[in-house]
Amino acid sequence: MKITLAHGSGGETTRALIDQLFVRQFTNPALDSLGDCARVQGFKRLAVTTDSFVVTPLFFPGGDIGKLSVCGTVNDLAMGLAAPRYLTCGFILEEGLELDALERVAASMAKTARKAGVVVVAGDTKVVEGRGGLYINTAGVGEILADFCPMAPGDAILLSGTLGDHHAAILSSRLNVQNAIESDCAPLHVMVQRLVEGGIRVKALRDVTRGGLATILNELAGTHTLRIEDAALPVSPEVCGLSGLLGLDPLYMANEGKMVAIVDGRDADKALDLLRTSPYGERAVQIGRVTVRNEAPVVLQTALGGSRVLGVLYGEGLPRIC
């Protein structure tokens, strides 16, 4: 069965879709009451975020748009040193979407939410004309666990795992390439929680998404220079192979389950241990250091002893070389 405009009419069909699909998947007291809003327990300091998800294809190796929409918002909260608590989700469905696909997405969302310890407390659905597409917006509320310490030269830059996996997986399915690459889409809140509990002086956190590591480091640098080492950057051989063929640079490729943590230099070893023993952090490494501001916000030390300015992503594939 496919989604039709009737599913968005607000009448019987809509009601059936919500009851039989969404409520069944996300069941919890706050949602099940189906009021105009969810009434929930509060916390002293809140973190709030929202994100919209548009991805082709809807299902890809290692994940789907549903898992992505939960992880994305959970991670945004975690990057604010907050424990994710509640989620809302808005669906925009295009006419012609397979009901079955929607069901799978919803189930995946529910499963991911349970894993991430968040409750989906409110939702909304709209149907538009189109070609069977699906877009999701999620908003999240979290409880702030700790505060950031000010960044200083000598701080360590840690990366929780390999670069480029999500980007490469999406590309592979779009290009119909058979390989073993899977998206790394995953919730990162446990890692963050452990850092906080371990007493690590955290200076900055950021999940490595759009624009890739190079772009987010530029955003994090502030008045400092972040120096990272080429040789230290983890990239899986499969991702390396694919990106080489197409001239992609893993430094600019998106992940959905990796983060950069800048921590006090004295806490670096302990923080690495905590990351490595957390789910999704087994391959965590130190990739560089914070230094006083030099010529550029981000500098990449190459194997041959050169240093290269690492700028932000300025346009997909825009060449510079003459």
Partner: protein
């Protein structure tokens, strides 16, 4: 006889070439009295005496300047006689005039003779110099040029040198004057220890003689040196530089030894012997060297010794590989510490304690289409300005491009281009860029008020411009290429052909095969190579396989391997894909298609290999290929049929050489046909060729021949490189024109 007095002003490169002593000698010979003074780089002369003697002085000043000087103007005013008793060299004075300062000057013939003469007190002194030769810009701290304001200030002259300084000979007022006793000393350091002076020189000679690879501190930086005949040594040198393929230049002891291997024209000989002593690219006749030096290349980069140390080494050892010391992509080492870090990989480091204040690579020049063409403008040329017919209302900074970075400071009617700096992606190049800029600003007292930069959103130079200036003018890359030529020849209107690898277009696509109608500060894109989707971003500029797969896709040819299949799907999905009319990528694709080369380990490698192959085929044996023109609003040169035809011809057994030759011919013809069409449309009969693709001599020479045969006036850059190293001048010129129109 009547006694007259003249006040003479000399403009040009007159500092650091012994100009004042030269004037004093002339005046004394003519029995004139008065004085000569350097006022911030402008020479003022007061001379009195009989009129014929004054006239003779003027004639000499105008017609026989000393070695290294370049005179632009000698102006005369009458003055009232003062009955001075003698002719004196007055102290330097600051002035508001914009100074000129000489570049570093190669060892002169007199010093050459002295250093080889066992009876001379400077026999085998590596740092010999006189008023006519020696380091200048590389050791200059500040103007006016006096020893105290150079890196020589730390060496107190011995009594003998003092006598020469005060005396009447070639070393009168020579600021770099020194000798074995009082000047910088050669140090040769190995893992075993450190030697000084004569012992150092002997050890250095011995090391090189036995196949060693050493770093030697030259004028503008360290150089890596080894024997070109020793394959193992050259391979080690390559490993240190991390340079896989790019040919090395060879320094020869003298002209006859060059003539034994390469054919030279008059113009080429003049260049090789000029005070700048650039590396000159010569066609090889014979190549006895290890193929590791320049085996695959038609050309050999050749130069003559420009310091006494170079002379002593080549005199004893014969030709030597001499290349800038630095890992590929990084700036040349100038500090002793930088070179000594590599000591364990080398057989020794030869240096001295004189500081290099400005890093300068060796310059590279070639003679093409009948005239010298700058390939890399650095030591021996910088800080010489380029004079324009127009005047900048306010001083301005042109940022240049990112890949062959080099800025230009513009003031008055002059543009001072910086030395070649390298790829701005390297942090150290970026540092040198800033360093070179603040040095040049300080030395010449230029305070730019605005900047001009490239449009490219990813260029460091653009970021820097906006960081430094509130007012920044952004100009299109290929427009700057053509404007650079307009500046040199003072053209107001020209049909510009700009062929290169990559430039950011005003429509957000990547340009690189452009026909621009340039009028004043404006341009219209009147034609270009067919725009096609190209996959791979910057990697496509290295990996010619990516360019080929993209061209095949555009030409409707089926992929021939899994990789091409993948690239075609990426192109269809728009992944890492841009629209581009690049001529550079067309050359890469052809090179890969013909199986010539499919990876650029250095810039232009595939295109150079394709040119070399074409050169081996006589023009008449070229396979006829065609680039059809589509004449709409803009002329489109359709490269797709060319790719299809070449692919077919290969299947039918046509040789890659015939196709390579045919490709160059087809491109030259299409360029000229396009120009003819544009001339009919606009009535402009002046054509300018710019962009790095024209560094290809076959293309440049075929194009200029055809263009002239068809009644055009052709303009090619002379003073600035044709590639991105030349765009700073164009940017400055566009800044000037825009300012005049505003």
């Amino acid at each position: 006889m009547t006694h007259s007095a003249w006040h003479i002003t000399v403009l040009g490169v007159v500092q650091g070439v012994g100009y004042r002593p030269y004037v004093a000698r002339l005046a004394e010979k003519l029995e004139l009295t008065g004085w000569v003074r350097n006022e911030g780089g402008i020479v003022q002369i007061f001379a009195e005496g009989p009129k014929p003697a004054l006239e003779k002085l003027l004639f000499e000043l105008r017609n026989h300047p000393p070695f290294g000087a370049a005179i632009d103007e000698v102006a005369v005013q009458c003055a009232s006689p003062k009955a001075l008793p003698s002719f004196t060299i007055a102290d330097s004075r600051r002035s508001d005039g914009i100074p000129l300062f000489p570049p570093d000057l190669a060892l002169c013939a007199d010093c050459r003779r002295e250093v080889m003469d066992p009876g001379d007190r400077r026999y085998r002194y590596p740092f010999i110099s006189c008023v006519a030769c020696g380091p200048r810009y590389s050791i200059l701290e500040e103007l006016p040029y006096d020893r105290a304001r150079t890196a020589m200030s730390v060496y107190a002259q011995c009594p003998e040198c003092q006598k020469e300084y005060a005396g009447g000979g070639r070393r009168r007022h020579a600021q770099t004057l020194s000798c074995h006793q009082c000047g910088p000393q050669l140090i040769f350091e190995t893992l075993d220890g450190r030697l000084k002076g004569e012992a150092a020189l002997d050890a250095l000679l011995k090391s090189l003689h036995s196949g060693g690879v050493v770093a030697i501190k030259g004028i503008g930086g360290f150089q890596l040196v080894c024997s070109p005949l020793n394959e193992r040594a050259v391979k080690r040198l390559r490993a240190i530089k991390g340079r896989e393929q790019k040919p090395f230049a060879v320094m020869f002891p003298d002209l006859p030894s060059v003539a034994a291997l390469c054919s030279m024209s008059e113009a080429e000989i003049r260049l090789i012997e000029s005070p700048a002593r650039p590396i000159v690219l010569l066609e090889k006749r014979e190549d006895p060297f290890s193929p590791e030096v320049a085996g695959g290349s038609r050309y050999l980069g050749v130069f003559l010794p420009y310091t006494a140390l170079h002379l002593i080494l080549t005199d004893k050892l014969g030709p030597l590989v001499v290349t800038s010391a630095n890992p590929a992509g990084e700036p040349i080492w100038t500090e002793d510490g930088e070179a000594l870090v590599y000591l364990s990989m080398l057989d020794g480091v030869a240096y001295h304690d004189r500081v290099i204040l400005t890093p300068l690579d060796d310059s590279v020049v070639q003679v093409a289409a009948g005239a010298p063409r700058m390939v890399r403008r650095s030591r021996g040329y910088v800080p010489r300005p380029i004079f324009l017919q127009k005047t900048f209302p306010r001083p301005l900074l042109a940022m240049g491009g990112d890949l062959k970075a080099g800025f230009a400071l513009a003031v008055g009617n002059r543009v001072y281009p910086s030395q070649y700096l390298g790829d701005m992606k390297s942090l150290n190049v970026l540092k040198n860029y800033r360093g070179a800029l603040s040095r040049m600003e300080r030395i010449f007292q230029i305070r730019p008020e605005t900047a001009v930069c490239d449009l490219h959103p990813g260029y460091e130079t653009r970021r820097l411009a906006h960081q430094m200036f509130g007012r920044v003018l952004e100009v299109q890359h290929h427009h700057a290429h053509i404007a650079s030529i307009m500046a040199e020849y003072d053209l107001d209107e020209v049909l510009g052909v700009a062929f290169d690898g990559t430039g950011y277009g005003t429509d957000g696509t990547i340009w690189g095969g452009e026909f621009l109608l340039c009028r004043g500060s404006h341009f219209e894109r009147e034609g270009h190579l067919q725009t096609i989707p190209i996959c791979g971003g910057d990697e496509a500029a290295k990996n010619a396989g990516l360019a080929l797969a993209s061209f095949k896709h555009a030409a409707g040819l089926a992929p021939e391997n899994p990789r091409e299949e993948l690239v075609q799907r990426a192109l269809e999905g728009g992944i890492k894909t841009v629209l581009s009319s690049s001529a550079g990528r067309l050359f890469d694709a052809m090179s890969a298609l013909l199986g010539v080369r499919d990876y650029n380990s250095y810039e232009g490698e595939c295109a150079i290999a394709l040119e070399n192959l074409a050169a081996k085929t006589a023009p008449q044996d070229g396979y006829p290929l065609q680039i059809p023109l589509k004449k709409g609003d803009a002329v489109i040169l359709d490269s797709r049929p060319l790719i299809r035809d070449a692919r077919c011809a290969l299947d039918r057994g046509v040789s890659p050489g015939a196709l390579a030759r045919g490709f160059h011919e087809a491109l030259a013809k299409a360029i000229v046909e396009t120009l003819i069409h544009l001339r009919e449309k606009y009535g402009i009969r002046r054509a300018a060729l710019g962009g790095g693709v024209f560094a290809n001599r076959i293309l440049m020479e075929r194009c200029s021949a055809l263009i002239q045969e068809n009644g055009f006036e052709i303009y090619l850059p002379r003073q600035m490189p044709i590639h991105d190293g030349g765009i700073a001048l164009g940017q400055a010129y566009l800044g000037l024109l825009k300012g005049m129109e505003a």
